[in-house]
């Protein structure tokens, strides 16, 4: 599970625990509260738990929203006065993970669109940096493919469990 901007936030959580580990540990907590009291925490990754699909769906929503926002920025690269936007999801996720015991909030996160700051405005008031946007799009595509791969692996695991092969 690669979440670059989350993994770089070293200040949250205990030492030696990567952000992605905490991410899945917290989702395990969320599952336990959703399930009956005597439900054992899933350690094999084999059980069909909707929250995992929801989480991946959330991440996919974020990449889809980012693709739209990046497309919008690039479509308006020659629009005078246009200000570049960006999608912020990983920061929110890191904040949610840092909250102790409040792991259910992760599923309610929605990608937030905000103005990019620290960009140089051109004379016409537009501040879209086309190279930055294209790089962002490449990175976003890779992230999206990663999430899709995780999801399809989960589904195929599920399928082989159902078919018993």
């Amino acid at each position: 599970m690669a979440l670059p901007s989350v993994a770089s936030e070293g200040s949250h959580g205990g030492p030696g625990l990567s952000a992605s580990t905490r991410f899945w540990r917290n989702t395990a907590d969320a599952r336990i509260t959703l399930m009956s009291p005597n439900y054992d925490a899933d350690t094999t990754g084999m059980s069909v738990i909707p929250s995992q699909f929801d989480l991946i769906r959330n991440l996919l929503d974020a990449t889809a929203a980012r693709q739209r926002v990046t497309s919008q920025n690039i479509a308006n690269v020659n629009t005078p006065g246009y200000k570049a936007r960006e999608v912020n999801f990983e920061d929110q996720l890191a904040r949610a993970l840092a909250r102790p015991g409040d792991s259910n909030g992760i599923l309610d996160l929605a990608p937030e669109v905000r103005f990019q700051d620290g960009l140089v405005e051109r004379l016409d008031g537009n501040n879209v940096d086309i190279d930055r946007e294209l790089g962002r799009s490449q990175k976003n595509t890779l992230l999206h493919n990663t999430y899709v791969r995780i999801l399809s692996t989960k589904i195929s695991t599920l399928r082989s469990a159902i078919s018993g092969r």
């Binding site: 693709q67 497309s71 690039i74």
Partner: protein, 143 residues
């Protein structure tokens, strides 16, 4: 999230492609008419300029309402028309001057390059979005 909204990034990039192509057409028309002393309205040709506006469903920052870019108008450039001394020209006035179009070729070439780069960038966004969408649809195929 509906399918239409999943595919809406395509519409955004398509609006960018259409806008940049229109800009290229207008620039080509400007260059073609750089020496036209008789424009549509009788006088010399005036340089045309495309006006873009960022399109949203409603004003605001929510992620769902982006609609790309919109061409608001193609307006004539009202800057001064240069006067050139050409006594032999059929359109010359009593003093031997003709009024030329206010098209400046270097400016048009710079605009042409930015339009062309903008077009390429939109096209690249369209391609990377197609890759994403194809990957997502592969889940349905049962990879």
């Amino acid at each position: 999230m509906g399918l239409a909204s999943i595919l809406s990034a395509t519409d955004i990039s398509a609006s960018g492609l259409a806008a940049e192509r229109l800009r290229m057409e207008v620039i080509a028309n400007n260059i073609a008419n750089a020496h036209s002393t008789r424009g549509a309205n009788g006088g010399p040709f005036r340089r045309q300029e495309v006006v873009f506006r960022a399109a949203f469903d409603q004003a605001g920052l929510a992620g769902e309402n982006f609609r790309g870019v919109q061409v608001v108008a193609v307006q004539p450039d009202q800057s001064e028309l240069p006067r050139v001394y050409r006594p032999g020209h059929p359109d010359a006035d009593a003093d031997g001057f003709i009024t030329m179009p206010n098209v400046r070729i270097p400016n048009e070439m710079v605009d042409l390059i930015t339009a062309s780069r903008g077009y390429e960038a939109n096209l690249r966004m369209l391609r990377s979005f197609r890759e994403m969408a194809n990957n997502t649809l592969d889940i349905l195929r049962g990879a």
